[in-house]
Symmetry: C2
Subunit: 330 residues, 2 copies
Amino acid sequence: MLKAVYEERGPVPEDVIHAVETETPAPGPGQVLVEVVAAPINPSDVLTLTGDYGMLPPLPAQGGNEGVGRVAALGEGAEGVSEGDIVLLPVGSGTWASHMVTEPRRLIPLPAGADPQQLSMITVNPPTASLLLSEFVDLQPGDWVIQNGANSGVGGYLVQLAAQRGIRTVNVVRRESAAEAVKAAGGDVVLVDGDHLAERVAEATGGAEIRLAIDAIGGEATDHLADCLTEEGTLVNYGMMSGEPCMVSPKSIVFRDVRVRGFWLAKWFRNADRDRQKALFGELTALIAQGKLKARIHATYDVGDIKQAVAEANAGGREGKVLVCPAHGG
Amino acid sequence: MLKAVYEERGPVPEDVIHAVETETPAPGPGQVLVEVVAAPINPSDVLTLTGDYGMLPPLPAQGGNEGVGRVAALGEGAEGVSEGDIVLLPVGSGTWASHMVTEPRRLIPLPAGADPQQLSMITVNPPTASLLLSEFVDLQPGDWVIQNGANSGVGGYLVQLAAQRGIRTVNVVRRESAAEAVKAAGGDVVLVDGDHLAERVAEATGGAEIRLAIDAIGGEATDHLADCLTEEGTLVNYGMMSGEPCMVSPKSIVFRDVRVRGFWLAKWFRNADRDRQKALFGELTALIAQGKLKARIHATYDVGDIKQAVAEANAGGREGKVLVCPAHGG
């Protein structure tokens, strides 16, 4: 089997991650062997490799936090799953690998007919998009929300979930070439970031009151979004694609009482009770299985090509997610 | 009489403000003539001259937003005040002048024995300090708060008000020479901003949990304060002494759920009911009259020296407020 591991963290993520070949383990009593089908490379995975994430595993570590697998073999007395079942892999289990051995109770069965690549991305980005829309401002159908990084994974899910809830979106992208895909995904307004953004937003929305802004980028892009909010509006940051801290001017936070918050999915997982988590993932699984919620896929790579895969995931200008899809020889 | 006026706004505040001499008006029926005794130059006044404040008067305009005067003459039928009374001037009335004519109902009588220079600063900085301590986090005696710009006007009042409420303060200053005065005013901990601030704060406070940070400066100084807050702590910005927008990194707002807010006294005045305003100013007037709440005074200038006064107020390195104290020839 192949797995992608790292012994140290460093500024260039593809320099620290590498694939190693080991013997495929046999499942022990009560265990199962799972073949990994697909596992995404998320921005948080890249930040974990560079050491910039809020929670870092002890070293050495295996990469990958989410993914989908197929049950390949059951150990003696293993129960609860059958060979061939499509399952969600345990969160944070090191999913950039061709195989893993685990206990059946840590696997969540998934609908058999659904696209496993789409399901492999369910744990991180879709709940982030859903919770950004629900946890900060009480939005009603017809309300507007503004986001930047609109062509990111979270951004794409957010456009689709907002549309399903009757919420209208202003989507800010960093380059004109990204605009078309966001419009195609259902974004109501798509604008390129830059000068006079607030005026352009007001023009495009007919002067709509915007009470929620969602920032994936940081730096000056944060202030541009804050400018677009109504008095007492809330700006929520959840990413730092610019690599810079959020900037917010007194014009917004002092004179217009804009509030700045952050969102971290890991904290939500820590605090939300089991029933809320089940309800959220039940809803998202159904939407993905029905094809009503999806992400674009930029490229897929075998575990052996993990350096190239991570470099690609860390580069700008992508249109969609990079997935690790291990080759299983058939 | 002399008054300080400006016809345009511009980046160098002392270039736009200037004194003009006009005939001292006689009070009309029901009016009074007031001699201005003292009127401070606040950072918000400087930002009004440069055009960077959140609320700008139409041009041409007269400078000065608060101050204390002495009733000099009553017009026919004027009631409610007597010649010689010490009074608070109307907020925003253009107090950088030797005289003003107004209606008695717009004047608030002040205790006769108190220091009029200290009372002249009551409307802007003391309520800001008081409300920063009360409006965002429910602080209890023994709790800690951290502020930067600790040797500013608001900073000095905040140290004194916190001490009176049993709240302990970590005070951050930008230069070592400012530390002594903050300690003398009752600051529990005084540190110079810079590297590893959070570690130094933890050491000085015995690892105390700090739930409120108060930022007068912006730029990287904001992020340094945010670093010192406990998880879910609140940072409130009310000034931009650095001239830069606030910077906050995802390390604080995403991974530790720090919340960023702004405070603007003008908005509080708009929303707080009359009784709350009276209660707050009653408390502050008593403290100032009793000498329990005071600000250092860096220098006083006649209205004719307004350019020098404003330049001095806008310069760094001051120890105290600059006041306009018109010469009244005895």
